[in-house]
Amino acid sequence: MNYQPDKRGFYGKFGGAFIPELLYPNVEFLRKNYLKIITSASFQQEFKSLLRDYAGRPTPLYFATRLSEKYHTQIFLKREDLNHTGAHKINNTIGQILLAQRMGKKRIIAETGAGQHGVATATVSALMGLQCVVYMGEVDMERQAPNVARMKMLGAEVRPARSGSRTLKDATNEAIRDWINHPEDTYYLIGSVVGPHPYPDMVARFQSVISEEMKIQLKEKTGRDEPDKIIACVGGGSNAAGAFYHYLENKKVELIAVEAYGKGVDSGQTAATTKIGSEGVIHGSKTLLMQNEEGQITEPYSLSAGLDYPGIGPLHAHLFKSGRGRFLGATDEEALQAAFEITRLEGIIPALESAHALAVLPKIKLKSNEVVVINISGRGDKDLQAYTKYLEEVEKKHLNIGR
């Protein structure tokens, strides 16, 4: 089985570039040139030095003693939350801004859900002195207000997406429309492994630094360069793609992707794409998505803005269909519990997105000699409002959490 896209961007039957003709010249230029540019020595040198000196990589691989004791296994946390700007998103934005710069683009646009990609894009735009416009669903602007403030401080313009569910899907629509209207000077800096080819592959490659470091760090700490399991959350799926990347062909490593079940798979308020979705085209890519009988894309739901998306990237659709990936999920409630658990056991406040990955620990069989890596994709500062509200509710009920 091959997990790299073919020349036209298909992973098996998923992927491709289903885009209006207006976007063709831009996307075609990227398709023809991205590999040449991003694998060149000068690009790689600049990319790696910014990852090290600016983003703060390598991020630690931390052995979580108390969490491991609780689950009777060996759990390592890949600390993407310790990156500059607080999540794995910066890996990709550094890569793409260097590409945009080499293409001579003057204006950067991006979509954002939780705001982490928006902040990471605003950050690198400030670094390079480029104009930056970030589209964000109106609902997300409210629930991730701290990130809106950060983007504004960084000099970005945050434009609310007011259509549909007013979340990530709608922000992505608006960003694509902006790109259609400004094909010459604008670079669209996509934040996940979604969108038309070559974006899914390009973003996966920029995020692959996560598993590249993981191999070296595991070798040092365990003597083996591979874990038994890797667990990561999936909205579009960029942190999972990065954490899985160097193990895609290594069948000994179980790849566990965790979707947001929201209020439950059958509740009608969920983002469980592989459970209730079907094949179709969203944001320029053939993949699995949530839709009705008429092919209308349905509104997703998750408390976590970063996972509140009705599709998954084409690589993940391929991993799901081929059986290479194991797809699990966590509800809002389970993710909140998991966030408190790791906070109280390890002193790490994770992003609500990352908490979904942690939340499957009680649901899977773990052996004591197994090595499990969980990708902590981001930190939880932006989610304090949701966490505080949950804590108040729990305290009202006199329940004990996180122990």
């Binding site: 289903f18 010249p25 694509i176 259609i180 400004h182 094909p183 179709g280 085209v281 008429e294 092919g295």
Partner: protein
């Protein structure tokens, strides 16, 4: 000869009006089509409302979302087109997004569309390469014309490919934009002239940003006619009587 082909043979300054099926009310699809014919429009383009219309600006996003709230679905649209076809010989173009076709089943979609009297299809997010590989034979066998778009950024080799792959006419997008933006037409005239000089296989219709008599007339200098969408959708709700709104709108373009 197809209805589209024979129209281009016998007429100049062709006016093609786009509207969204089921907007403002579910039954308006048939009413609007009939009124457009009465008003002297040459061709109609019916939009299948889609939840995420990426190539469309705010006006058509709005009409699409209202139509979906009105419960519009493909089978209803097909039956409305069947009704329209009973009384008219105007060419009918159906416009929608690739996900709608995939979900309906591409083969079933092409057969059904043809059987109801649709003449041509515009699917803006269907790449021409995939069309040629997977769908061209089926579409042509069903007797439908697939219409592709070219833009100011499309290079010459690709314009030729899109022209070769199109039947009926070639859709010339006036400027880099989603639908419904009115740009100054005079800036596009060099581009229109360049396309005209290419002596392409298909007749040309210019669309995007055509909103009034002036922009329509400019388009007609360089092409066989033009397509108006967003400006017409806006006009539909201008006054209390939809029939009057339609007649006035078309009259203002044609006079």
């Amino acid at each position: 000869m197809s209805r589209i082909e024979s129209l281009f043979r016998k007429k100049k300054n062709i006016l093609n009006i786009y509207f969204t099926a089921g907007f403002p009310k579910p039954d308006d699809t048939v009413l609007i089509a009939n009124e457009l014919e009465k008003a002297g429009v040459d061709m109609i383009e019916i939009g299948m409302p889609f939840s995420d219309p990426l190539a469309d600006g705010p006006v058509i996003q709005h009409s699409s979302s209202i139509a979906l709230q009105n419960g519009m679905g493909l089978d209803l649209i097909f039956s409305q087109i069947k009704t329209i076809r009973k009384t008219t010989q105007l060419p009918i173009i159906l416009m929608g997004y690739v996900n709608q076709l995939m979900r309906y089943g591409e083969d079933a979609f092409f057969d059904k569309a043809a059987a109801c009297g649709v003449d041509g299809l515009i699917i803006p997010d269907l790449p021409v390469e995939i069309y040629l590989e997977k769908y061209q034979q089926k579409v042509e066998k069903a007797g439908l014309d697939m219409i592709f778009l070219i833009t100011p950024q499309t290079d010459e080799a690709r314009i030729k490919l899109l022209d070769e792959s199109s039947r009926g006419f070639l859709y010339v997008v006036s400027s880099a934009s989603t639908t419904g933006k009115t740009a100054a037409m005079q800036h596009q005239e060099a581009y229109f002239e360049r396309i005209r000089q290419m002596k392409l296989k298909n007749p040309l219709l210019i669309g995007f940003g055509i909103s009034d008599k002036k922009s329509f007339d400019t388009a007609c200098q360089y092409a066989s006619g033009a397509i108006i969408g967003s400006a017409f959708i806006k006009a539909l709700e201008k006054g209390p009587e939809i029939r009057k709104n339609i007649q006035q709108f078309v009259k203002a373009i044609r006079d």
